[in-house]
């Protein structure tokens, strides 16, 4: 009996140990995201390669690469970043299907493609992107990132068609409120608050 409990305790401690090295690696990635997105992406790639049952590492690889896809790099490079992001979104989706967090990442990647070449991808991707946000909204109506990303997309479309954006500012306010209440657990995505404030200040400021 004693032996068995020793083994069990030992196994647990080993697994805790393993868990914590995963956490350590992820934390390192999160830290790097603040200063060096490329190194962060690579850190997450390493973790993703080692942990085939966790969706978060792949999610963050995609996230970092999408953030590198909004015009800071040459056109050729940008495409490579976007393709890489797509690969990792696909990986994350296999591990965690129907995850609203991953769905909105796909929405953001589509926006990157549209920004990259609107005449090729504008019509092709705008419908699908709307559909993704609507689906995510249905699945997670209280997720601030879902509310924010969808609102940002709707604001973008409204601006393109020269329409008033104020109807969506309520959504941004709601997202900000929910961001404030959000409790972050583990490595689930928690970004968005700053972006929402930015959109609010730049596009929704009342005169």
């Amino acid at each position: 009996m004693k032996t068995i409990s020793t083994i069990i305790i030992l196994l647990i401690s080993i697994s805790i140990n393993a868990q914590s090295s995963y956490e350590k690696a992820m934390l390192k990635g999160m830290e790097l995201m603040k200063t060096n997105p490329l190194a962060a992406s690579q850190q997450f790639e390493r973790v993703a390669a080692a942990e085939s049952d966790q969706w978060e590492p792949a999610y963050y690889v995609a996230f970092c690469n999408i953030n590198s896809s909004f015009g800071q790099h040459s056109k050729d490079k940008t495409v490579l970043y976007m393709k890489k992001a797509q690969d990792y979104i696909n990986d994350a989706q296999v591990i965690s299907p129907n995850n609203p967090e991953i769905m909105i990442l796909q929405g953001r990647l589509n926006t990157a493609w549209i920004t990259y070449d609107s005449s090729t991808y504008g019509m092709k991707l705008s419908g699908p992107t709307t559909a993704i946000y609507e689906k995510a909204q249905k699945m997670a109506p209280e997720n601030p990132r879902v509310i924010f990303s969808r609102a940002e997309w709707l604001i973008g479309s409204a601006r393109f068609f020269g329409k008033d954006v104020t109807p969506y500012c309520g959504l941004i306010d709601k997202a900000i409120l929910l961001f404030g209440k959000e409790e972050v657990t583990g490595f689930t995505p928690s970004w968005g608050y700053k972006n929402a404030i930015e959109v609010q200040t730049n596009l929704c400021k009342k005169e």
């Binding site: 850190q43 050729d76 090729t120």
Partner: protein, 714 residues
């Protein structure tokens, strides 16, 4: 117990054992250090990023053997297995990855529309937004180099080839009757909705060994893979209406659409040059079902169309003209599966079936044709790496064609059942990203003529400088005669053509210049000795001919903000002796100069796109019996200025207005001469011109999202 403890102790020692440092440097092919490469041991978190000198160093607790991985965007992954202790002072040499963006493209002869290739001459939307194309998927292609505009016909005439010499494929399955049959000089259009396709590749010669039984050109259309949005589309047009719907459930989706055209009300408003008895009417429906498997995608496509019209055909020899009526019913369907078999092998299978019934009435004679056709194909693709890929495939075509000619007192029945078995293999080799080859060979067995024919296909591309590349293509091509001829002489061997193509491509920042020159050698062309192919004609394959020329294509999307334009010019020198030609001559459908200028301007404030297309085609040959010789004269040039205006009301609603031949130029394509001379000894003639001086199209397109309705928000 003791053993267990020992092993646990051992385990701990292993974990707490000293760390090993791994170090080295990453360089690219030109010995330049690579900054920012990702270096790590596979299966661990141990790794780092290279510094500005391409150097790296990190510690690991791993011992014994491990796999070191080095990767970076734009390069091939590098892997090395070694003892961790030996991984010191490593020299890693990166190889630039070959991808569609940075490598040369094997594009001699090919013009593609879509985003799959960087050398896209057209974008998917151009198919519907090019002025003058009026939503016909072939319309926009007529503005590309290599085509001779035949606005009185509407099909694709490529580099001196007739309209029959272009074959059309949907998802790599042959479409047997892609065009709606018309007569009386009403231009035909493709049967299929342009909105169904997201990739179009148009080859004007030198195409892959995968495609056989086409002398001049292939047009490859790919249907959209997976729709992600449920929606309903409504179209209200000046000539009819349409409705479409997409449903998605789980891994399945279905898209259906139905269209009805009637030119009746339109003809009442706008004068037509043809005298219609029954106005042109078309009912068509399409359905696509898709199912996503874990490793592949299944698509089933079905289309049915029925068209009907009749006119009083003008004729110089018949005073009041004669009745000409045409009813056509056509079913086309294909089943497709594309999937991965393993990491390196993938499979593509397709089966297409077609049924076409055509009831033509000319005065008192009825000509009814029935055609059933099948195409089955399997293709395997092995990808060794990014540098080397091979395709293998086999395919079978079976056709059954029946014709019944019924005059007042007699009935003639004829039929034919041509078949064609093909097998092909093709290898694609990238020596580097600057040099690539494709070599293929195709073998065809034609059942009726018992001919076994082998056609080699070769192409190569080399990068000349950063923005320039040159490519070459050669190929041997065969095509069997049309069914209406085969029914009278089944032993006719296929016609043949050889293509030689040299292409230069310049690309920089949204500008593209494509220059291509070619020589095409025709042999074994069909010949006969009567005015039309008849049951008692003497048939042979004694014809030959050539086509030579060059094409220029310039597209610029960046120089002027919001303006996208292209200019395409083709020079064609061709002569052939075929059919019932007396001598070598330039056929009526081949014009020496073809010029198209297409411009699209986006008016931000008006949310409108204004489009303009100008076409110029030099005169076409015809035979004037008042002079000596055959095809001895030329018509005046064809010119047409087309305008369109697309107004986006919002994301879901578009109004579209298009006017073809705004200036109303009276273009003449050919002349029909009287069979008998008039009192002065001259033969009178009748000009064969356009079906109408102008064509005006107004449409309203409305998409209703199936998801949470966007309109509520706007």
């Amino acid at each position: 117990m003791k053993t267990l403890l020992t092993s646990i102790a051992l385990l701990f020692t292993l974990i707490s054992i000293g760390q090993t440092t791994i170090s080295g440097q990453v360089l690219d092919e030109k010995e330049v250090p690579v900054l920012g490469a990702n270096i790590y041991l596979q299966g661990t978190y141990d790794g780092t990023t290279t510094d500005i000198d391409g150097k790296f160093s990190f510690e690991t607790t791993e011992t014994s053997y491990a796999t070191l991985v080095a990767s970076f965007v734009g390069y091939e992954d590098f892997q090395q297995q070694a003892l961790v202790g030996d991984m010191k002072g490593l020299k890693i040499r990166f190889r630039e990855s070959v991808n569609s963006l940075n490598s040369v493209i094997l594009n001699a002869g090919t013009l593609s529309a879509g985003d799959s290739s960087k050398a896209s001459a057209l974008k998917p939307l151009d198919i519907v937004t090019t002025a003058g194309a009026v939503g016909d998927f072939v319309g926009a292609l007529q503005t590309l180099p290599g085509t001779s505009a035949n606005p009185d016909d509407g099909r694709l005439f490529v580099r001196g080839g007739s309209g029959d010499e272009t074959q059309i494929f949907i998802d790599n399955n042959r479409v047997f009757r892609p065009f709606l049959p018309v007569t009386g000089n009403i231009p035909t259009r493709g049967r299929f909705s342009p909105f169904l396709f997201d990739g179009i590749s148009f080859s004007t010669g030198g195409y892959s060994a995968e495609y056989g039984d086409a002398l001049s050109s292939v047009l490859l259309l790919n249907t959209t893979d997976l729709p992600v949005e449920e929606k309903t589309d409504l179209q209200i047009m000046s000539v009819g209406g349409g409705i479409g719907n997409t449903q998605i459930w789980g891994k399945n989706s279905v898209s259906v659409n139905a269209t009805y055209y009637s030119l009746g009300p339109y003809n009442d408003l706008i004068p037509q040059n043809n005298q219609f008895e029954d106005p042109y009417e078309l009912v068509s429906g399409e359905a696509v079902y898709r199912h996503e498997f874990e490793k592949g995608l299944f698509k089933a496509y079905s289309a049915y169309s029925y068209s009907n019209f009749s006119i009083i055909q003008e004729d110089i020899n018949v005073e009041d003209g004669f009745f000409l009526g045409l009813k056509n019913g056509n079913y086309y369907g294909n089943l497709n599966y594309d999937g991965r078999l393993s990491n390196d092998w993938s499979i593509e299978t397709g089966l297409s079936l077609a049924h076409d019934r055509n009831d033509l009435r000319v005065a008192t004679t009825g000509i009814d044709t029935r055609e059933n056709a099948l195409h089955a194909k399997i293709k395997l693709r092995k990808r060794y790496n990014n540098y080397f890929k091979i395709n293998y495939g086999v395919e079978q075509f079976l056709v059954n064609y029946k014709e019944t000619v019924q005059s007042s007192d007699e009935t003639f029945n004829t039929s034919t059942s041509p078949s064609n078995t093909g097998a092909f293999t093709e290898a694609e080799v990238f020596v580097s990203k600057d040099l690539a080859f494709k070599a293929g060979i195709r073998a065809d067995y034609y059942g009726l003529s018992d001919e076994f024919l082998v056609s080699p296909r070769l192409s190569a591309a080399i990068s000349v400088s950063k923005n320039w590349q040159a490519s070459l293509a050669y190929g041997q091509f065969y095509q069997q005669s049309q069914n209406n001829v085969l029914q009278y002489d089944e032993k006719l061997a296929p016609e043949s053509a050889e293509h030689y193509i040299l292409n230069f491509l310049f690309q920089k920042d949204g500008r593209m210049l494509r220059a291509e020159t070619y020589y095409k050698n025709y042999s074994s062309l069909l010949t006969y000795d009567t005015e039309r192919p008849l049951f008692d004609s003497n048939y042979g394959i004694n014809g030959d001919g050539y086509a030579a020329g060059f094409d220029l294509f310039w597209r610029d999307e960046t120089s002027v903000k919001n303006l996208d334009y292209w200019i395409s010019y083709s020079y064609l020198d061709t002569e052939r002796k075929y059919r019932n030609f007396e001598t070598n001559a330039t056929p009526n459908f081949a014009s020496k100069h073809n010029l198209s200028i297409v411009g699209k301007y986006w008016l931000e404030d008006w949310k409108s796109q204004i489009g303009l297309t100008y076409n110029y085609t030099s005169g076409r040959t015809f035979t004037d019996p008042n002079q000596a010789g055959f095809l001895n004269d030329k018509t005046s040039s064809f010119q047409s200025l087309n305008l369109n205006w697309a107004y986006l009301i919002d994301q879901q609603k578009i109004v579209f207005l298009s006017v073809t031949n705004v200036l109303g130029r009276d273009n003449v394509f050919n002349y029909q001469y009287s069979n008998t001379a008039n009192s002065k000894g001259n033969f009178d003639r009748r000009a064969i011109g356009q079906a109408a001086d102008r064509f005006i199209f107004v449409g309203f397109f409305w998409t209703l999202g199936g998801t949470d309705n966007q309109l509520d928000n706007l």
